[in-house]
Amino acid sequence: MDCYTANWNPLGDSAFYRKYELYSMDWDLKEELRDCLVAAAPYGGPIALLRNPWRKEKAASVRPVLDIYSASGMPLASLLWKSGPVVSLGWSAEEELLCVQEDGAVLVYGLHGDFRRHFSMGNEVLQNRVLDARIFHTEFGSGVAILTGAHRFTLSANVGDLKLRRMPEVPGLQSAPSCWTVLCQDRVAHILLAVGPDLYLLDHAACSAVTPPGLAPGVSSFLQMAVSFTYRHLALFTDTGYIWMGTASLKEKLCEFNCNIRAPPKQMVCTHEFLHEVPAASEEIFKIASMAPGALLLEAQKEYEKESQKADEYLREIQELGQLTQAVQQCIEAAGHEHQPDMQKSLLRAASFGKCFLDRFPPDSFVHMCQDLRVLNAVRDYHIGIPLTYSQYKQLTIQVLLDRLVLRRLYPLAIQICEYLRLPEVQGVSRILAHWACYKVQQKDVSDEDVARAINQKLGDTPGVSYSDIAARAYGCGRTELAIKLLEYEPRSGEQVPLLLKMKRSKLALSKAIESGDTDLVFTVLLHLKNELNRGDFFMTLRNQPMALSLYRQFCKHQELETLKDLYNQDDNHQELGSFHIRASYAAEERIEGRVAALQTAADAFYKAKNEFAAKATEDQMRLLRLQRRLEDELGGQFLDLSLHDTVTTLILGGHNKRAEQLARDFRIPDKRLWWLKLTALADLEDWEELEKFSKSKKSPIGYLPFVEICMKQHNKYEAKKYASRVGPEQKVKALLLVGDVAQAADVAIEHRNEAELSLVLSHCTGATDGATADKIQRARAQAQKK
C-alpha cells in the first residue's frame, strides 16, 4: 500500500495530483517532437504529427510527412504533405484532423489520413496570411480561431456549419499579442489576448480591457495563458515567473505561485489527464492511515482472504459506525478511477465482500461499474489505444465511444461491446454492421458478388440496417452493380426505388415499385420512364407490367386522353376504344356531324370487338341524334340528348302524335312500354279525350288498372271510373277501391270469394257510411265459413 501513493503530489492543502504512464509509446519518431506540429485529440483520441519544415530557415526541399498515431503510438496513417505550409493542427470532436494552412485554407482529414474536404477562412485571412491559429471545442462542435498578419481575429465556432465571424479590432494593436486563447462562455466564443501588461477580451461586438483580481504587481508582460478543457479555469504566466490561476470569467482568483523561471515555457496546458487530481473516493481510501469506511472495508477483505480474524474486527468497526453502505459505495467508485485491472479487482472484491453483509444494497451500481470497467479496459488496451478515464467515458457516452471504435474500423470490438452491454439492436449491433458494410463496399479489390454476399451474410435481416444506405455508398464509390445487388436485400421499396432511378435502372425500379403495392411509387417510376424511353419502348415496358399499365391508364384518363387511345390501340382493346369514342362524342364535339363521326368510330370499334349489341346500339344512337337534329330544325324546342323514350314523350306532349308513333315504330319500342309512355304523357297533358281514344284503339297490353291509377293521381275520379269498369277481374277490387266505390268492391270480392280481397275491402270501410258494406262482408265471411 505504501507504494500506491508514491506518485501522488500535494497541491495546496486539500488536494493531491497523481501521474502515471498510460503507454510506453512504441512509435519510431524520425524527428524530434519539438520540430513538429503536434496535435493530440482529447478523450484519448489520436495524435497527429507534422514535421514542420516551414519554420526553419532553409526552404523545404523535402516534402514533410503527416503521421497519425493512436494514443498508444500505433501508426494509423502516414502521408506526404503536398499542400501549402501549415500553421496549426487540431482535432475536431468527430476526430477529424483540421490542418490550418498559412493561406487560411483548412484541410480536413479522417483518422486514417483520408482527405475529407476543405474550406477557407475567408478572403481577409487569405490576403493577410495566418499568423497563428487555434482549434477549440464547444458544445456545438469544433471551432477554428485565426490570428491574421494584420493582427485581426477571425473565427468559426463550428466547422460543421461554417459561419465566419470577424472579431472587432483591438485598439492600438501594432504587433502580434504576446499570447492569446479562446474562451467559451454562455455559448459564445470570445478571445482573450495579452498585449504587454494589458489583457483584452474580444467578443463579436466589442473589445474590452480586463484585469484578473488579485494579480501580483510588477507584471510587464504575459507570456503564456492556458484555459482548462471545460473553459472554467484559466492560468496566466507572466514575465516575472509568476503564475496566476483563477476562474475563466476573471472574477475570482484560486491560487498563485512563483516558479522563478523567467523564460517562457514552450507550452503550458491545463491538463485533465495523465496528471490529474486524485478523485475523492480514491483519496479517502488510499490516503495514508485513512480510517474512511472504504479503506477499512478494503483492509477487511484482504484480511478475510488471509483467513485472519482481523477481517471481522474491521467489519465490526465499520458496522458499528453504520457506514457499511458508504464503504461499499466508496470502493465501487474508487474502482472506477483505477487504471490497473488488479487494483480495480481488489476494490470491487472488497465492495462485493461488503455487500454480503448488507440486506438491501441495490445491485445496479456494482453491476454497471463492472460492465463499464470491462469496456474501458478493453478500449485502453494498447492495440486499441483509447485511454479514457471513467469520467470521460461517462461524459462521452457509450454511443460516442462506439462511433469512435467504428471510426477506427474496430468493428468486431464494437459489436462485442454492444452484445456485452445488450444494447438494443437498432442502436447497437445494426448500426455498427451498417458502418462496417459501408466500409466494406469501398474495398475495390473485392468483387461485387463477394462484397454483396459478405455483407448479406453478416447483416441478414438485422433490424434497423438500411441496405439502401449501404447501396448509396457503393454507388457513390462508382460500384453500381454492387449497389443493385445490395438493394435486392432492401425491404423498404420507398428507399429502394429512388436510388434505382438515380442509377438509371428504371425498369428494375418499376418492378420493385410494383412489388411494393405503393401506387404513388409506381407512378413516379412511370413518369420517369416516360421521359427516359421513346414512346414505343415505354409502351412495350407497360405491356409487360399489367399493374403499371392499369395505373398509367388511370393517369391518362385524367391527364392525357390521347395517350389513353394509343394504349388501347396498342392492345387491340376495341371494346375500350369504343367506350373511349363514345365519351369523346360527348366531350369534344359541339357539331352534330362531329358527334356522329365519333359515334361511327365507336361503332366500328365495337364491331371489331365483336360486340354486336353495342355496335347496333351506337348506330341507333346516331340515327336518333340525326333525327333529334331534324326535329329541332322542324319543330323547334329541345330534343338533342333526350333519351328515345323522352323524345317520344316530348313529341306527344307537343301534340305531334304521328311523329311519335313513327319514331316508336322505327325504333321498335315494345308495345307495353309505348302504352305506359302514352298513358303517362296524355295524363300529364290532361287530354282525357285523347286518352280515352287511345284506350280504345286496341286492347291494352298493360291492362286498365294503370289508367285508373293515373287518373286518380291527377285527381280525376270521373275519368278514373270510366276505366275501372274495364279492369280485368283480378285487379277489379283494387280498381274499385281506388275510385272509392267500396260497396261495389265488396260485391266483387264476395263474388270472388277471395279472403284477401275481402280483408282489403274491409280495411277500406271507414266511418258510418260504409257500415252496411262492412256488415255485408262479415255476413259473406260467416257464410263462407259455414260451408
Binding site: E425, V426, S430, D461, P463, G464, P491, R492, E515, S516, G517, D518, T519, D520, L521, F523, T524, L527, P546, M547, L549, S550, L551, R553, Q554, F555, H558, Q559, Q575, S579, I582, R583, S585, Y586, A587, F613, A614, A617, T618, D620, Q621, L624, D641, L642, S643, L644, H645, D646, F667, I669, P670, K672, R673, W675, W676, L677, T680, I702
Partner: protein, 531 residues
C-alpha cells in the same frame, strides 16, 4: 373522448386519440394563426376525428373550400391545404398560391396530404413552379376512421371501382397501411384469413410492410385474434338487396353520410293542421347516428318489420324468373329510377350466374332507349364488375352456394332472431355467413363452395414473441377484425353485431371497410355520366 367508441371489446378511442394527436402535432408545427383550405371531400371524415373546437385551439381562424383562382382574404400567418393526393387538386393549389404571391404580405404555405404524401403530386407542384413555396409538406395517415365502437371505414368512395374495374390498387395499399397502424396500436394480429384477389394482395402488402418495420418490434399484447379480409366481389348479391334493418333502411331511403343523415324538413312539420304554417322548418335536419344515442343503439340493427313483410315478398319472387322479368320490364316502362332498375337487373343476373343472352340484350336495349344511350358506358362498367353478364354454358353454381351456406331461410323470426338471415327477412348475407363459418367450424367444411366463389382463399400466420401469446380464459370470446374490401352495408354490420352478441357465439367482430355503402350508392359509383 368520444364515448361511443369505447363501448366495444376494442377501445377505438385509442385510434381516435392517436390520429388527433398526429393532427395537433402537425398544426403546432405551423406556428401562428392559420387558415385551412379544405379538399371538400375530406370535411366529412375529418368531422369524426376533430371538431372545429380542436382546430380553433390550435389557432385555426379561418376555413375555406379549395377552389380555383384567388384565396379569400384572411389575416393569418399560415395557409394550410388539407388535400387528397390528386393531380387535379395540385393544379388548383398552384393557382391559389400563384395568385396569392402577387399581392400583399407573404404568408407561409403548407400542405397536409391525406392519407399519403405523393411524389407524383409533388412533382406536379414542382412542374408548376410552386413546390418551393411550401414550408411543410406532410402526410396525415388517416386511413381508417372510427365510426362507432366496432366500426371503421376508409370512406373511399371510388375504392370498389378502382380495385375491380380499373386495376388501381391505391386503396388496397391504404388499407394495408391502415391495418399496420391498427397493429401498431392494438398489437400484431396473429392470424390472417382471406378470400378474394384483393384480400390476397392486402395480406401480401401487410406481410411485406411488416418486414419493412422490423426492428421497431411491437410489444403490445394483441387485442385482435384474427383478421378476415373479404373481397366485395365474393358477395356481389348482398348489397343489391334492400336492407331491412332500421339503420339499413334509413340509409336506403335517405342515405347516411359520415354517420350523419339529412332528413327532409317536412318530417318535422307539426302534426296538427291548425298549427301549420308558422314554424315550418325549411332546412334539412342533420342528425348523427351512432351508439352514443341509447335508443338508437338498441334499435339500429333490428328488422324493420312493417316494411319487412312487404319487401320480403319481393325478395322471394326472385326465384321465379318469369315474374321478375315482368316486374323489371314494368319498372322500366314506368321509368322508375334507373338505379333501382339497375339494382334489380344486377340482382337477377348475380342470382342466376348470369342472364340468358336474349334477356340481357332486351334489358340493355330497354334501358338505353328509356334512359338514354349514354348509359352504355354504365352498362359496360357493370359488366366489367361482374354484376351483369350473359349465362355461359357452364352450370349455375348459385343454388349450390345457396344450399351449402344456407342463405335462404324459410322460418325467420324478425322479432327475436336466431339467425343472421333476419336482416333481409330470410336472406342471410353470404359475406357474413363466410365469417360465421370461419369461426365455427372452420372453412375446411366449405372448401367446395370456396372454390366456386371468385379469388383465392388463404390463411397466414404472423408469429408472435412467446411473451405476447395469449392464453385464453375459458368462455372468453375471440375478437375478429373483418375487413370488407370494396364496401359493406349496414345490414351486414347488423348481422355481424348479432353474431357478436350471441351468447355461445365465441367471436366478437370489429368491422372495417373501404366504404360504408348501400346498393344505391354502390351502383351510383359505378355509373358514368359523360355529360
Amino acid at each position: 373522448m368520444a364515448a361511443h367508441l369505447s363501448y366495444g371489446r376494442v377501445n377505438l378511442n385509442v385510434l381516435r386519440e392517436a390520429v388527433r394527436r398526429e393532427l395537433r402535432e402537425f398544426l403546432d408545427k405551423c406556428a401562428g394563426s392559420k387558415a385551412i383550405v379544405w379538399d371538400e371531400y375530406l370535411t366529412g371524415p375529418f368531422g369524426l376525428i376533430a371538431q372545429y373546437s380542436l382546430l380553433k385551439e390550435h389557432e385555426v381562424e379561418k376555413m375555406f373550400t379549395l377552389k380555383g383562382n384567388r384565396l379569400p382574404a384572411a389575416d393569418v400567418k399560415n395557409i394550410i391545404f388539407f388535400v387528397r393526393p390528386r393531380l387535379e387538386l395540385m393544379d388548383i393549389i398552384a393557382e391559389n398560391v400563384l395568385s396569392e404571391d402577387r399581392r400583399g404580405p407573404t404568408r407561409d404555405f403548407h400542405i397536409l396530404f391525406v392519407p399519403r404524401r405523393s411524389l407524383l403530386c409533388e412533382q406536379r407542384l414542382k412542374d408548376l413552379g410552386v413546390l418551393g413555396s411550401f414550408i411543410h409538406r406532410e402526410e396525415y395517415s388517416l386511413d381508417l376512421i372510427p365510426f362507432d365502437g366496432d366500426l371503421l371505414s376508409m370512406e373511399s368512395e371510388g375504392a370498389f371501382k378502382e380495385c375491380y374495374l380499373e386495376g388501381d390498387q391505391t386503396s388496397l395499399y391504404h388499407a394495408a397501411k391502415g391495418l399496420m397502424t391498427l397493429q401498431a396500436l392494438y398489437g400484431t394480429i396473429p392470424q390472417i384469413f382471406g378470400k378474394g384477389e384483393c384480400a390476397r394482395q392486402v395480406a401480401n402488402m401487410m406481410i411485406r410492410m411488416k418486414r419493412e418495420f422490423t426492428g421497431s418490434q411491437n410489444s403490445i399484447f394483441p387485442v385482435f385474434d384474427n383478421l378476415l379480409l373479404l373481397d366485395r366481389n365474393v358477395d356481389l348479391l348482398t348489397p343489391l338487396a334492400t336492407q331491412l334493418t332500421y339503420e339499413g333502411l334509413i340509409d336506403e331511403i335517405y342515405g347516411i353520410q359520415n354517420s350523419y343523415v339529412k332528413l327532409p324538413p317536412e318530417k318535422f312539420a307539426p302534426k296538427k293542421q291548425g298549427d301549420g304554417g308558422k314554424d315550418l322548418p325549411t332546412e334539412a335536419k342533420k342528425l348523427q347516428l351512432n351508439s352514443a344515442e341509447e335508443l338508437y343503439a338498441e334499435i339500429r340493427d333490428k328488422n324493420f318489420n312493417a316494411v319487412g313483410s312487404v319487401l320480403s315478398k319481393k325478395a322471394k319472387i326472385i326465384s321465379a324468373a318469369f315474374e321478375v322479368n315482368n316486374y323489371i320490364e314494368d319498372c322500366i316502362a314506368q321509368k322508375h329510377s334507373l338505379i333501382k332498375v339497375l339494382r334489380l337487373v344486377c340482382l337477377q343476373s348475380v342470382c342466376n350466374s348470369g342472364l340468358k343472352q336474349k334477356v340481357l340484350d332486351y334489358y340493355k336495349r330497354e334501358i338505353l332507349q328509356t334512359y338514354g344511350y349514354e348509359h352504355i358506358l354504365t352498362l359496360h362498367n357493370l359488366e366489367k364488375a361482374g354484376l351483369l353478364k350473359p349465362q355461359t354454358g357452364g352450370r349455375n353454381n348459385y343454388p349450390t352456394i345457396r344450399k351449402t351456406l344456407r342463405l335462404w331461410m324459410d322460418d325467420v323470426n324478425e322479432q327475436n332472431p336466431t339467425d343472421i338471415s333476419y336482416v333481409y327477412s330470410g336472406y342471410a348475407p353470404l359475406s357474413v355467413r363466410l365469417a360465421q363459418l370461419l369461426s365455427r367450424p372452420g372453412w375446411r367444411s366449405i372448401e367446395e363452395v370456396l372454390r366456386i366463389l371468385p379469388g383465392p382463399h388463404f390463411e397466414e400466420r404472423q408469429p408472435l414473441p412467446t411473451g405476447l401469446q395469449k392464453k385464453r380464459q375459458p368462455g372468453e370470446n375471440r375478437v375478429t377484425l373483418i375487413f370488407f374490401l370494396g364496401g359493406v352495408t349496414f345490414a351486414e354490420i347488423a348481422a355481424l353485431r348479432f353474431l357478436s352478441q350471441l351468447e355461445d357465439g365465441g367471436t366478437e367482430y370489429v368491422i372495417a371497410t373501404t366504404k360504408l355503402m348501400n346498393g344505391t350508392s354502390w351502383i351510383e359509383a359505378l355509373m358514368e355520366k359523360p355529360f
